[in-house]
């Protein structure tokens, strides 16, 4: 964990390597720091979270971004983990925009926009019809 000094004049020092002493580069890839995963384990986790997120699980992408926040925040850190985390962030952002735009359209548009379908789609009517809260 030592940066190259005097004896080895490095014409192109790369301070952004994982183990460099540059203060901005984090040592631990997870947000839990030393309590979390090591870098090798993190690659597996990040990859699995990214792939499972495609099963309509944007929350998993969000958890992925949260968990590997140091990798996301510091560019050029953890080169193996970062692609998955960035992919998850982009996926979550896209999904969240789509979902929230649909939800807001539904909520604000209301019956004027949708007509009678609105009453069929809105949750509290559906719950009443299906008796989801009946406990009977």
């Amino acid at each position: 964990m030592e940066a190259s000094q005097g004896n080895h004049p490095n014409p192109n020092p790369n301070p952004n390597r994982n183990n460099s002493v540059a203060s901005s580069v984090p040592v631990w890839p997870t947000i839990d720091g030393p309590l979390g995963l090591s870098e090798e384990e993190s690659v597996g986790y990040a990859r699995r979270f990214y792939k499972f997120g495609f099963a309509l699980l944007p929350l998993l992408w969000a958890v992925n971004c949260f968990y590997f926040w140091p990798a996301l925040r510091h560019s050029h850190s953890f080169p193996r983990i970062r692609p998955y985390v960035v992919g998850s962030a982009i996926g979550f952002a896209v999904f969240a925009t789509l979902l929230s735009s649909w939800a807001l359209t539904f909520a604000i548009g209301g019956e004027r926009l949708f007509g009678p379908v609105w009453d069929q789609l809105v949750m509290y009517n559906l719950a009443d019809r299906l008796g989801l809260t009946g406990w009977s």
């Binding site: 309590l35 958890v63 719950a127």
Partner: protein
């Protein structure tokens, strides 16, 4: 048994002590607070949910027209039946653990978490939506709910999830189950709380108690019990290299030499370590520094086999630097005194009975990383007590909250003093119930009269 060395200056003891207590009291308080809010907002009719709790009201269904004596008797019968069910479920759990069906237990745990998050979470969300008439459509709702439930199951299954996410989901599960328990009839709830406190006391402390057997099994095998347990984040002291050291607590074990490196009884008591018999999938509550895994991998066997304390592990443990100990590999350490208990909760309509065995855990212990562990069952019953108090008045809520926190503090002190797994229910629930009835019968009259006469507001 234990020798405590007084090296630590007073301020750091208080810091660490206070920090650790706060880290366990905070989620308990959040859980209770949210249950109180839910109970206050959703003033649903109690009778609606009696059917859902038919497992609990199996002996007697309380109706408002019965006489006091009938209600009392019925409540006793209900709670007795419930305790019998829970005992039976716990013995089944012990049996399964004895035959090393850890995989099955883990799957069952994940399954029950999924059921709670999906169905109970969905019910509560639908109530809230109906109450506030939120114009949310069903597609969004189901998408968000399924996401929530699936990610919750993953946090239970995966051992090394983000600590905050895992803790959050455990608290949510506690809230949901506690809210459904507050739907029980009133007398039954109080009788149930008292009965569970007594059961907890018996199950953990008596030699034939199922929980004690479970803990001793886990200790003798150096395995971890697969169950839902809230583990507080370990408290860090000073600015040491995180890769190198972490705070450890030393359990005192009959077989091993006791090594205590700290003075404070509560903060740095015995060391408690756990071992992974399987691969990481079962290490729900442990964390290893990765480097240390490699370093100490070869030394694991020494730690257990040698009971005279001459192995490398102890040498390391002794080297203390201001109370810091070198991190020991969590493999094959001493096991955690976890309380485990199954509990049966019936959900949904009568037809789909899901017995959430192994879902709730009760009791308090110390984790391998030195943080405090509190079973989810404790969260649930504390919140049920406060939730039921909220159904009467907020004055009882304050009184019961203070009583429970005081009880929890007392339990933590006893934990540090006796340094073995303890039941967390009896003291808190006992004080909570006492304070509830005292407040309701005596304090309220006093306060109301004072207010009427403009003495207090």
């Amino acid at each position: 048994m234990a020798q405590t060395q007084t090296q630590r200056p007073c301020s750091s003891v208080l810091d660490s002590l206070g920090e650790e207590i706060v880290r366990i009291v905070a989620p308990v308080s959040i859980c209770m607070f949210l249950v109180v809010i839910l109970v206050s907002i959703l003033n649903t009719d109690s009778s609606l949910f009696v059917a859902s709790m038919s497992m609990v009201t199996i002996a007697y269904n309380e109706t408002t027209s019965d006489s006091t004596w009938d209600k009392f008797l019925g409540a006793l019968l209900n709670s007795l039946a419930f305790v019998v069910l829970v005992t039976f479920a716990t013995f089944v759990l012990v049996l399964l653990f004895y035959f090393r069906c850890t995989r099955f237990l883990k799957l069952y745990m994940a399954f029950s978490t999924f059921i709670v998050l999906l169905f109970l979470g969905g019910e509560v969300s639908i109530f809230l939506i109906q109450k506030f008439s939120t114009p949310i459509d069903c597609i969004t709702f189901f998408l968000v709910l399924c996401n929530f439930a699936v990610v919750g199951v993953l946090t239970v299954f995966i051992s090394k999830m983000a600590i905050l996410v895992t803790q959050g989901y455990l608290v949510v599960v506690g809230i949901l189950v506690a809210y459904s328990f507050t739907m029980l009839p009133e007398w039954t709830t109080w009788a149930l709380l008292v009965a569970m406190a007594l059961y907890d006391l018996a199950a953990v402390l008596l030699p034939i108690g199922p929980l004690r057997i479970l803990v001793e099994l886990a200790i003798s095998r150096d395995e971890e019990i697969p169950a839902l347990v809230y583990e507080a984040r370990p408290v860090k002291h000073g600015s040491l290299d995180p890769r190198e050291v972490a705070q450890r607590r030393l359990w005192r074990e009959r077989r091993v030499q006791s090594l205590n490196a700290n003075n404070s009884v509560l903060a740095h008591g015995p060391n408690n370590a756990e071992s992974h018999s399987d691969s990481g999938a079962n290490a729900g509550d442990n964390w290893d520094g990765a480097n240390l895994v490699r370093e100490n991998a070869s030394l694991n066997s020494n730690l257990n086999a040698d009971s005279s304390g001459g192995s490398y592990g102890y040498g390391n443990l002794v080297s203390v630097e201001e109370g810091w100990l070198r991190v020991q590999e969590t493999d094959s350490d001493l096991s955690a005194p976890l309380m485990d208990r199954g509990m049966n909760v019936q959900l949904g309509r009568g037809e789909d009975t899901v017995s959430i065995d192994n879902l709730m855990l009760e009791g308090i212990g110390l984790a391998s990383s030195g943080s405090i562990k509190l079973g989810l069952g404790d969260f649930i019953f504390y919140s049920v007590l406060v939730g039921r108090a909220a159904m009467y008045d907020y004055m009882t809520v304050y009184a019961c909250y203070l009583a429970i926190i005081a009880g929890l503090g007392i339990t933590l002190m006893l934990l540090a003093f006796y340094q073995k797994a303890l039941p967390a229910l009896p003291v808190s629930v006992g004080m909570g119930v006492l304070f509830y009835f005292l407040t309701r019968l005596l304090l309220e009259v006093f306060v109301v009269q004072c207010s009427l006469n403009l003495l207090l507001f």
